[in-house]
């Protein structure tokens, strides 16, 4: 039972990280209706900044700088590339982000090479024991940080003028523009926020028990895609629910790997995708996504 509790808490912690990534992904989709396939590369960029800067600056300034750096990269992608294509077909725009992803990922994996970079976090491999349950401190920090950021984000989304502009643009771009919402700024802001959230997520994806930032980290980040999709691509609630589901399922599947041996090794990495396919079969728009209605 205690192992189950450990798996569950680890899963929730992992899931909250996926939720952070998925949230950024959903924000970009809502603000611009573009699916950002470069999201995993944004995350890798944020992680890389932190990894490089933590020695000269110390951890906390490096984290701030890395978050800002990833936000700048996101904003730059929007400003230099996506903005030039505004009004183009959305599936073409999605493919443009794939082009951006190829560029970013190639550059970052070339820089990282075969190294495993430490991010210099203060938690190390310390653990907390409560009764029979042992949890790594990093997992608790991840859970708290994600909860804090998500709450802050949702409050901003609801109450600040930036959030109102973002929601208005998501409802109807044209009407929002006519009401004086600057769509360019909205989408720039969305990309920057997504980059910043991804950078924080990068930190928690690479701390203990994972060895550190490596080229494979973006594969872990990719699991936020099924998270965002199974929650519903245009729903922030969906991103949270999807992230948690994916995290818990992955953690349980990895934890009980030996009982699932007939499914092959590494079933935990596959589980998020299987859950996504299963959910999409029943609810094609995801759990909380807006059902597509067509008036003919």
């Amino acid at each position: 039972m205690s192992t189950f509790a450990e798996f569950l808490i680890n899963g929730l912690s992992l899931g909250s990280i996926y939720a952070l990534i998925a949230l950024g992904f959903v924000v970009i989709f809502r603000a611009t209706e573009v699916v950002n396939f470069a999201h995993a590369s944004l995350l890798l960029a944020g992680g890389y900044f932190v990894a490089v800067l933590h020695e000269p600056l110390g951890f906390w300034p490096a984290l701030a700088a890395g978050t800002a750096g990833a936000a700048v990269v996101g904003a730059a992608v929007e400003f230099l590339v996506m903005r030039r294509h505004r009004g183009a077909d959305h599936s073409v725009l999605a493919i443009v982000t794939i082009g951006v992803d190829i560029l970013l990922a190639t550059e970052l994996t070339r820089r990282i090479g075969t190294d495993i970079l430490a991010l210099g976090d203060p938690w190390g491999d310390a653990v907390v024991t409560v009764g029979p349950v042992t949890i790594a401190e990093t997992r608790i920090a991840a859970l708290l940080a994600a909860a804090l950021l998500i709450t802050a984000f949702l409050l901003a989304f609801r109450h600040t003028s930036w959030g109102v502009a973002m929601r208005a643009a998501a409802e109807s771009q044209e009407t929002a523009a006519l009401m004086g919402v600057r769509l360019g700024r909205v989408s720039l802001g969305a990309w920057a926020v997504a980059g910043a959230l991804a950078a924080v997520a990068a930190l928690f994806l690479t701390v203990f028990p994972t060895p550190g930032l490596e080229r494979g980290t973006s594969l872990a980040a990719l699991k936020a895609f099924p998270a965002a999709i199974l929650g519903g691509l245009d729903s922030t609630t969906g991103a949270l629910a999807g992230g948690l589901i994916v995290g818990v399922v992955e953690s349980l599947a990895t934890g009980y790997q030996s009982d699932l041996a007939f499914l092959g090794r590494g079933i935990g990495d596959l589980a998020p995708y299987l859950v996504m396919v299963a959910v999409l079969l029943i609810r094609p728009a995801g759990l909380f996504g807006t059902k597509e209605l067509a008036r003919v």
Partner: protein, 359 residues
């Protein structure tokens, strides 16, 4: 329309150019070294696969990130059907040509099995759902050891067709020794030509119109009486079969299939091909496929002569990475500056219309 339309002089010029190009392609194995023939075969396989995904993503507007999965089904399907089981892996020992045909069918079947999911999803949802195929595929390839050989992959049995075996047993043609690549070159050309003609037939006929209508407005297409679901399922199957064919050809050229190759990067490569070449156009798919497939080979070959590029492992930008930079930039640049891709570039040159034509 009782009068036969006059053939414009440009058409003669184009036919002549095509004929000349065909002759050049046919004599190339007599002159080129093995490296270039192999690179050419990669390009042909890529072109076939790119036609497939362009039918699906370009012409019908169904974003697919799972193309590499269907290539893997083709490649491993061929190995499993043609293998004779002597290497300890599952093999049915079918004749090579039959195995190749069945492997293509198998890829189509895999596409058909996925189509209940594909049929319910649109746009980005479909794109990410097909991403699942890649990971499921990788998982199976690494774990189903008896079928796939696991991490190390499995050897590809050579193809034999009408008594000719496509392996390195030397065959002297006009004083030139013909090994596997020389023989496969002609097979690849024939398959590519057939693939191009078939896809053009599909796109120019009723199915093509229906596919474009579905891409442009799914609901309007349905209202006009196009069976949308059936067409989408059919084009998914067709595209998978093209991918399967490309997979078989690639397997024959590589002579060994490894699971790592059929990862997400390959799917992204195919999407890059059709964007660079031109969405929805067969010629564009071929051009994009050749560009993206040849780029790393060319860079690899001339790594010493090029600035900034150096051999792998020496610290600079490896040729494979340089190629990825280039086609990544090409994807972004194409959409920025040349919407419609390379195919549009050719079509933009003024086309001479016969004077009597009315539209």
């Amino acid at each position: 329309m009782s009068e036969r339309p006059r053939i414009p002089p440009k058409a003669y010029a184009r036919a002549a150019a095509a004929g000349l190009g065909g002759v050049v392609l046919l004599v190339l194995p007599f002159y080129l070294e093995r490296f270039w023939l192999q690179a050419g075969l990669f390009a042909m396989a890529a072109a076939i696969g790119a036609i497939g995904i362009n039918l699906l993503t370009g012409a019908t507007g169904q974003l697919s990130m799972g193309h590499a999965f269907f290539l893997a089904v083709g490649a491993y399907g061929y190995c499993a059907l043609a293998g004779d089981g002597t290497d300890g892996l599952a093999g049915l020992g079918l004749p090579g040509w039959l195995a190749a045909v069945l492997a293509v069918g198998l890829a189509g079947l895999a596409g058909g099995v996925f189509s209940p999911i594909a049929g319910r999803l649109h746009g980005a949802y479909l794109g990410i759902a097909t991403l699942a195929l890649i990971f499921i595929g990788q998982h199976v390839l690494f774990n189903a050891h008896d079928l796939t050989g696991g991490y190390n992959g499995r050897a590809v049995p050579p193809l034999n067709l009408l008594g000719l075996t496509f392996d390195d047993s030397e065959l002297l043609v006009a004083q030139v020794p013909f090994g596997a690549v020389e023989k496969l070159w002609y097979l690849g050309l024939a398959l590519l030509l057939a693939g191009v003609l078939f896809a053009r037939g599909v796109l120019r006929g009723r199915p093509g119109r229906a596919m474009n209508a579905i891409r442009d407005h799914r609901i309007a297409a349905g209202v006009m009486g196009i069976p949308v679901a059936r067409h989408r399922a059919a084009v998914f199957v067709l595209s998978s079969m093209y991918a399967g064919l490309a997979g078989v050809l690639l397997a024959l050229v590589f002579q060994r299939t490894v699971p790592e190759y059929f990862g997400m990067a390959l799917s992204l490569e195919y999407l890059a091909m059709i964007v660079i070449g031109g969405l929805g156009s067969v010629a564009g798919a071929v051009a994009g496929g050749i560009f993206v497939a040849l780029l790393p080979q060319v860079l690899n070959r001339y790594a010493e002569a090029l600035p900034l590029v150096s051999a792998p492992g020496t610290g600079g930008i490896a040729p494979g990475e340089a190629a990825r930079y280039l086609y990544g930039a090409a994807v972004v640049g194409t959409v920025l500056f040349l919407p419609g891709g390379l195919a549009r570039l050719v079509a933009r040159t003024p086309i001479h219309r016969p004077s009597g034509e009315t539209r």
